[in-house]
Amino acid sequence: MKFYTQSFIYDDPWSIVSLAYFLRYPNPYASHIISCDVISRTQTPSGTLLTTRLILKRGALPRWAPKGIISRSESWVVEESEVDPMGRTVRCTTKNLEFTKVMQVEESVFLHQNDEGKTMQISEARIRSRFGWGLTKRIETFGMNRFKTHVQRSRDGISLILGMLRQSRLQTLGGPAPYSPMYFAPGKIRAKCSNPPSRINSRYYAEVRRMWP
């Protein structure tokens, strides 16, 4: 088993970082995400929000991988999270559902607002292979290196979304948003939304559409 941990501080407050975190797919740094669905979401009596999402990712295997150990290059990942708006924390764990004997990657992310009003992110990964055939260690090392690269890309993706959120909030100050389609649909459908105007307005989506033509 290999264990890796890294922490990082975002200058923004917890609420906007957490919003960006849940809006992170799609972004140009996460082109490997094919689909993402909420399969359960409940609010607990204490007010926290529990969410399970099922995500389909595309991933390439290393050249040295024995042929046929994994029949395809896509895999299902389950993400479970708990958001506590009163305690200003997000806990999120992701695990791959298949090929767990070859490699089980469990990733945890913890977001918490610090005393300076900034947001601390702690990322952890546990990588374990039970493959055997003298390849266990090599698989774990491969997984670890891939994870390290992934941490950086994932942060770049969140920073990008953060930047767009920040900009759209600045532009909206002083006037209600004309409409609030709270989703990414580059050049596609635009839903009518009966919610009160959100601070995240059309400019945000215009920006998103510009980036994903």
């Binding site: 919003l19 669905d37 979401r41 409940t42 529990l50 389950v78 708006p85 806990r91 559902l97 649909a185």
Partner: protein
């Protein structure tokens, strides 16, 4: 937002995401003082849950039904159950007794 696992659910997913995210933005900044009592927090949380139900409850139910059907068709429901049995997810395990949203 990213597509749904089933193309036929993607329009519902977009509508749901749009509604949820708008609600979520407010949820992340609770209008309750840090010093509020447990009871005040619970009242606030219940209100927030009701607000979600009123605004997004219908589209959430439709989207969920659509994906549940797709999960069954693809055999993914079994995969999820199996993963939970073999390797219980230690972190938040949504229980059926909580308010379904």
């Amino acid at each position: 937002m990213a597509d749904s696992l089933a193309p036929q659910c993607t329009p519902l997913k977009r509508e749901y995401d749009s509604c949820f995210n708008s609600w979520f933005e407010g949820y992340l900044e609770p209008a309750v003082a840090a010093s509020a009592s447990q009871q005040q927090r619970e009242v606030y949380s219940r209100k927030k849950a009701e607000e979600f139900e009123t605004k997004c409850g219908k589209v959430w139910a439709e989207y969920k039904e659509c994906t549940q059907r797709a999960l069954k068709e693809k055999g993914l429901d079994r995969l999820l159950d199996q993963a939970r049995e073999e390797n219980p997810l230690t972190e938040p395990a949504p229980s059926a007794t909580q308010n379904q949203k």
